[in-house]
């Protein structure tokens, strides 16, 4: 192989020598920084570009593979960016809605993020990143831009635990906004809340809005709870079963507000004494 190469070089030795010397001369020329060389450089670039263009139809496996790799990485990075932008957009929308809610409100709100969520048991709770240092106290309502979320049940200096509407221990005085029919919102599992203590004869229609009632000791009146999904008379009973679809999507809950609403303690004491 080497011998064959040597023979070829020997056969074309004049060309090998002249090519070597021309290349050396051209290299020396490139060391100059004169106007002539700059022009020649530009010609060389144009020439090389034309040549590359002329042979560009020949696919280069390694180039294609590298290009593929680069494109794949770029695709991944862009997908990631798109995902983050979508996330940001949704967060922006949520925050805007929260801000609107805050502007409308007559109560003070403490913005909070949910640090932990437990939505699998019958006593569903969330952990919030605000606590007594933020003037968050037990029994304060938790709301989102969509409606009532639950209430605070315990606090530490920096954290608090919120009891969700989807918790069988939470009961909320509520009413049908249209017909002013009163009832008690409870949850017994499943996707719907139940409006209890509604008489068979009360006017309840699917689509009716359910809000907190003025009879509630812990929640101010008028907070949206949900929408009536269906109402059926209970067999052998004077009441009807009203299923309410919660206004809040608890699975997507992230940013919330703690409403700094303090129940009237004297009223609570009085009510408890007469029960």
């Amino acid at each position: 192989m080497v011998k064959r190469l040597y023979d070829i070089v020997l056969l074309f030795k004049e060309y090998v020598v002249v090519a070597f010397l021309i290349l050396t001369s051209v290299f020396l020329l490139t060391l100059n920084d004169t106007a002539q060389i700059r022009v020649l450089r530009s010609y060389a670039i144009v020439g090389v570009g034309l040549m590359q263009n002329a042979v560009s139809f020949i696919p280069n496996y390694f180039d294609l593979r590298r290009e593929n790799d680069v494109l794949r990485r770029m695709n991944l990075a862009l997908s990631d960016e798109v995902s983050r932008l979508r996330e940001g957009r949704l967060e922006n929308l949520r925050l805007r809605q929260l801000l609107l809610l805050k502007e409308r409100a007559e109560h003070r709100y403490v913005a909070a993020n949910i640090l932990g969520k437990n939505l699998q048991l019958l006593r569903n709770t969330v952990t919030l990143n605000v606590g007594s240092d933020d003037d968050v106290l037990p029994n304060m309502p938790i709301v989102s831009e969509s409606g009532l979320v639950g209430k605070i049940i315990s606090t530490t200096a920096g954290y608090s635990i919120g009891q969700l509407l989807l918790n069988k221990d939470l009961r909320v005085s509520a009413k049908i906004q249209r017909s002013r029919v009163d009832g008690i919102i409870t949850w017994e599992g499943g996707p719907y809340l139940t409006l209890q203590n509604v008489a068979r004869t009360d006017d309840v229609q699917p689509g009716d809005l359910v809000i907190t009632s003025e009879y509630s000791a812990f929640f101010p009146k008028g907070i949206r709870i949900g929408v009536v999904n269906d109402a059926h008379p209970l067999p052998s009973s004077l009441f009807q079963s009203v299923h309410v679809l919660p206004a809040v999507d608890f699975t997507e809950l992230e940013e919330i507000f703690v409403m700094q609403f303090q129940p009237d303690s004297s009223r609570i004491i009085l009510e408890q004494r007469n029960r």
Binding site: I22, T24, S25, T34, Q36
Partner: protein, 167 residues
């Protein structure tokens, strides 16, 4: 052995370079000067062949570039004289060297090689200068070629005389 054979050529090459860089200036006619180095390269090509002429062209051109200082372009003479030597080497005929050197063919070959050399030189040298290379060749290249061919008469006559005097 090789060095001993090459030594006279090397000394003569140095002498030609010395003449080109010192004496030739005094022979200038309206800034046009003969190219003694080129004549020597042609003579080398006709006496020694293509590779020695190419190597001589490169090395002598490089020396010219180095002594031309900041006004010159390093590598330009080396390039043009390398190509001149290579081109001149095509006229090498081992058995007819004395006849070619001592005849008008030396002038013809010198003329062709000088023309190519000057054309290449001015095409490169005048880039970006605003002077068209055709003007450069007409104003400097052709007169320089004519002057070089005229000076090449001297070696031609010397070789012709040697040829006559040798049995």
């Amino acid at each position: 052995m090789l060095t001993r054979r090459l030594l006279p050529d090397i000394i003569l090459s140095a002498l030609v370079l010395l003449l080109q860089t010192t004496v030739v200036e005094f022979l200038a006619v309206h800034t046009i000067v003969p190219d003694l180095v080129l004549i020597w390269i042609v003579v080398t090509a006709l006496r020694r062949g293509q590779i020695p002429a190419t190597a001589a062209g490169f090395s002598m051109g490089l020396v010219q570039d180095l002594v031309s200082g900041p006004d010159g372009m390093l590598g330009l003479s080396a390039l043009t004289k390398t190509i001149a030597g290579f081109l001149a080497g095509y006229f090498y005929a081992e058995n007819k060297t004395p006849q070619i050197l001592g005849s008008y063919r030396l002038l013809l070959i010198t003329g062709i090689v000088s023309l190519v050399h000057n054309a290449l030189y001015f095409v490169l040298f005048l880039q970006g200068s605003g002077i068209r290379w055709t003007d450069g060749i007409l104003s400097y290249g052709l007169p320089s070629t004519a002057y070089t061919v005229a000076v090449a008469l001297i070696p031609m006559l010397i070789f012709a005389r040697k040829q006559v005097s040798s049995p």
